[in-house]
Symmetry: C3
Subunit: 152 residues, 3 copies
């Protein structure tokens, strides 16, 4: 099935394509690799999830934040490629979770993003990933996701 | 010399192949690049090194933790490829050290992993790397290592 | 225009090529990709910017620190390749900002590096990037920058 169709079947609504908030671009292609800039849990220019997971935000809110980061990744890809069907394979995801010092459930939070990639891309969405907890993130975002994929 | 033989010569015991603790896979190949998911200082399902380096754990314990992460990387590679001899070159290592706020010896800690790659792979083990200190990691792990290598 | 000439036109002075401070190398090439090791705000063996941005250091000092990291990246590239003209495209930058817990201006700080890449490389300097805040860095450095580029 087409990934664009899959988005419709799942009734997923992609946020507006996020604009870079600094001197960089959202999408860089080199041979078959594409590097995306860090995605925040935004809807357009509005940051939806702020605060530290495990303190200001629950694990469940963290999961929703990670999912929103992933939806923004899809939005960037569709915005650049015109279609999600250019995704050959999601290769690598890094999830930076802005978390309380004693937080330990980063994998659960990052599943919010990973599960979305599986729902949309199936086998092509199975990726390698690292989940880490960081002290601070731009604009007090709850999490930030970096993604590398193979384009076809 | 074969890297598999080298492991035996050095009397290194690889831990059981670590299972992913979330919605991802441990090993993703794309053309000649392989991306591994973040490795923790585990032996099978048991996390061996917990706590913050520079507070709960000494630098020496941090080094051992990083070395154990690296042994898990070898275990993933051998588990997937059947042999370590498919390693063409270790390209890139990122070491996330769960450290006290005022910790400064991250390079020393990460040498625990880097030295192991040199012992096993020789020239092919010489990699680029970044060492950073993070506030929290999954399951209170002392460190997490991400690795990219070229496969042959 | 040649990137080497551009450096002269802009009157930029590259720091001495930084030596690795651990068991790794500064520059690893694989096919057309080059991975650089994390760059610190050093001039030779001297670390110039220490402390946490938003506490010990101002945003403006953070920007200067990020710019110095980027100059060190150029120094590594020129040292290895003999010329900056081997840069085909800056692909990916990660900026780890050692920041106060409540810091939110990471993108502004990282622009210190991104703007330099644009000044020197123009279109070829436009990269994907992630900006994150970390609790600690090697030697109390204010920031660390990781860079991947395409070589030609």
């Amino acid at each position: 099935m087409s990934f664009d169709l899959k988005i419709k079947t799942l009734a997923l609504e992609l946020p507006e394509v996020p604009k870079p908030v600094g001197s960089y671009v959202s999408f860089v292609e080199s041979d078959s690799l594409v590097f995306l800039s860090g995605l925040l849990p935004r809807r357009g220019s509005e940051l939806i999830f702020r605060g530290k997971v495990g303190a200001d935000l629950s694990v469940e809110q963290g999961i929703q934040a990670a999912r929103l980061c992933a939806l923004n990744a899809l939005s960037v890809i569709r915005g650049q490629c015109g279609t999600l069907d250019k995704v050959g394979r999601i290769l690598r995801v890094v999830g930076y979770i802005q978390a309380h010092n004693a937080f330990t459930d980063h994998p659960k939070v990052l599943n919010g993003a990973s599960d979305l990639f599986k729902e949309v891309f199936g086998e092509a969405g199975l990726h390698a990933r690292s989940a880490v907890g960081v002290a601070s993130l731009p604009a007090n975002a709850a999490c930030e996701i970096e993604l590398t994929f193979r384009i076809r």
